[in-house]
Symmetry: C2
Subunit: 443 residues, 2 copies
């Protein structure tokens, strides 16, 4: 036995993409965000209190590509980019499937997830604009960790509002964010008017992502040198994540891999967008991926694509954000406390939503017990413990491989392993000892 | 700015070394292990109850190189080998040092440390010999995790005895070892005669590495299809780790890096040996590294090289193992409960000890508060949170860089980052909140 050529396809730092791909350029009738006060399309000025100008420009741009600044591209090395594309030979063997399964390794980042790709870009543009502090919210903690880490690369301070329930349940996230030098507050906090108001009215609340967003935005709106940063949903976030799919396309070319399926998990949509949008762009223009199917995998606890409605809705619970045209379960929908905290969101990125609405992509959903079963199998065959979010994409890939086995078809499946699960081991423990709860909203 | 050539030096899977280097071949008067009963050099048969034949052969061999079986070499890919060599530009800048600092990234393994390099080889040889189960002990948990993971690659079962104190303090290690499908017992356990005896006499004991070793050996000795596996100290372990240093030599050649100092942490010695032995071999034969200094960094809590005595001593507390000629603090020495659990050992690998005794390497020790300070700096400059063990090597490298600054010398320092600290964040938390205890045995 010698190492097969496609066991692991690496790229060099020089191969890191030089520009981001913008799917908005290829969806001509994309519905703009609306100002909830006027009901009219939101203007750039509507965002200026919380975002810097270049981020606002990228949010609205319809240009096909946006150049990646050298200062961002160079620093992608700190996220261990480029990330390998690997073949899951041992998983294939275990499944006894004729399908080939490849996975893109976003777990290789020191942050443990893909979240750094946009954190890096956002930190850079804010630093260039003279901002000295970024604020954000975090639920499970992956996003807060990413922003805390990259802020150091551009000498920014970061303040993270972490949903109180998670803050208390996941003390390691507080520690890692502090280790990177950022401030982190349990939300609702005493540090904002809105936080104090909630604390007064509901002292026992376990908080919510909506409250945390409101606190982060309030802090940003009060000082022109403080801006707000978001880790998913918005167009500029999807844009920055496209380094994932562009690298994967290079690697598939090297490995002569022609995928029948490309699979990624979806919460707010940033991992799915990063993985698939560059390929969708090729498909739309008839260049490649003619017969490739793109599969979004979401949790049954928050099935916005498979069970939501395509309409204008608020991005947060309190209704402070512009209205976004997206698949949504309703901005007052509270998903159950699944371990895949990164997928617990009532809505879906407007770009991913538009792609779904036009039939360019499909979607399926799984209960968390099914996804942890897949994660355990990945650990025992490929040696990698996936993040609970990534277990969703993995489960989707496994089911497609089993389907190929049933039909005896040599399908090629490529999925995105969005991160590792070393900071989420408690979910695995619950799965193994039988105490993991079903997360199906219907059960 | 463009990415400098030496910012990160990657190798391809084809560059993974094809053989291990054996320092024993270059130390002619190496003292053999002694049978404690007879006082005579231990014979291969003395080890046969617990080790398979090829492991015993490698333990005693004086051949200069041992070929790496293809079945092991191919599987190094599951440990994300080859590992990058990276330059710490941002750390250098922070320190304002004229020194160049490079680090070898053993943190990139899905296991989070270098321990898999020997686990893989040991699992292979045991599987080839018809063994179906491996037993081992683990203190901090890195070694038990590594053996649990690689056992799957060769369809072996693994049973880990984890020191009760750690077992209760670090529940995540139990979870990760279970996730990889291995059994893990709190030691002393009900599963061995020795464990039951201790439990009866000292029901409240928090256990010790010595007791856990005794339990693992007892289980192995009772069944010819069960063997024992050790993660450090012995010659064959040092041998298997030399992929680290051999890769680093290739990378230094590519980057035209001529080190003044090569630095690694030392507990039982496997990381230090893996990093430096291939270079020491070149130095001994006058080929390279003529002026390079090799620096072992150990904790003040267990300073076997800097404060121990070079003599024959037992490898375990109970006195069941052969006598090893090594620097030791005495086999009844119990180090304080520092976070760098991988460095809590009373003795030092006989090969590292011999190298130290002949003056080929030097050693220094640090208190754990100093090493966590260094770790925090690494996190905030380079974005990587080092394992508590690795913080020792890092602290050594930083001090050498500051020394170069004081003397205004352009020194080149290469250190081994033996692992990441994502499963050891509690130590960082204690350091940051001021509750971390000094670990100096004199304080």
């Amino acid at each position: 036995m010698t190492i097969p050529k496609d066991a692991r396809i690496n790229l060099s730092p020089e191969d890191i993409p030089k520009r981001w791909y913008n799917l908005a350029s290829d969806i001509p009738d994309l519905k703009p965000p609306l100002n909830p006060g006027t009901g009219q399309p939101a203007k750039p000025e509507d965002f200026e209190a919380i975002f810097c100008k270049e981020i606002i420009r990228q949010e609205g741009t319809t240009e096909r590509y946006v150049d990646i600044p050298e200062e961002v591209r160079d620093n992608l090395i700190y996220l261990n980019r480029p990330a390998p594309l690997q073949r899951a030979y041992r998983l294939e063997k275990y499944l006894k499937t004729p399908a080939k399964i490849y996975f893109k390794r976003e777990d290789m980042s020191p942050l443990g997830s893909h979240k750094g790709n946009t954190a890096l870009a956002q930190a850079y543009y804010n630093a260039e604009a003279g901002v000295h502090t970024l604020t954000t919210e975090t639920g499970a903690g992956q996003w807060g960790t990413a922003l805390a880490m990259v802020s150091n690369l551009y000498d920014l301070d970061t303040t993270v509002f972490m949903v109180r329930g998670s803050f208390e349940a996941k003390p390691l996230r507080k520690t890692i964010i502090n280790t990177y030098g950022a401030k982190i507050y349990s939300s609702p906090s005493e540090y904002t008017e809105f936080g104090r108001k909630i604390l007064k009215e509901h002292p026992e609340t376990s908080g919510s992502l909506g409250i945390a967003i409101s606190e982060a935005c309030e802090m940003a709106a009060k000082d022109e040198h403080i801006c707000y940063s978001l880790g998913s949903v918005l167009n500029h976030v999807m844009l920055h994540q496209t380094v994932i799919g562009q690298e994967t396309m290079q690697q598939m070319e090297i490995g002569e891999i022609e995928p029948d399926y490309v699979v990624a998990c979806t919460g707010g949509g940033s991992n799915f967008a990063g993985m698939t949008f560059p390929m969708l762009g090729q498909k739309i223009h008839g260049k490649k991926f003619k017969d490739t199917q793109f599969v979004a995998v979401e949790p049954k606890a928050a099935p916005s694509l498979t069970e939501g409605e395509f309409k204008y809705d608020f991005g947060d619970t309190a209704g402070f954000t512009p209205l976004l045209m997206m698949y949504t379960l309703g901005s007052n929908f509270i998903p159950s406390a699944i371990h895949a905290g990164g997928l617990r969101y009532h809505g879906m990125s407007p770009l991913v939503s538009a792609a779904y609405d036009t039939g360019m992509i499909s979607a399926r959903s799984y209960d968390q017990t099914q996804t942890f079963e897949a994660g355990l199998l990945m650990a025992r065959t490929e040696g990698i413990i996936p993040a609970p979010e990534s277990c969703h994409a993995l489960k989707g890939a496994i089911d497609l491989a089993l389907d190929a086995k049933a039909k005896n078809e040599e399908k090629t499946i490529v999925f995105c392993l969005s991160g590792h699960g070393l900071l989420d081991l408690y979910g695995y423990e619950q799965y193994m000892d039988g105490t993991l709860q079903s997360s199906d909203i219907h059960s």
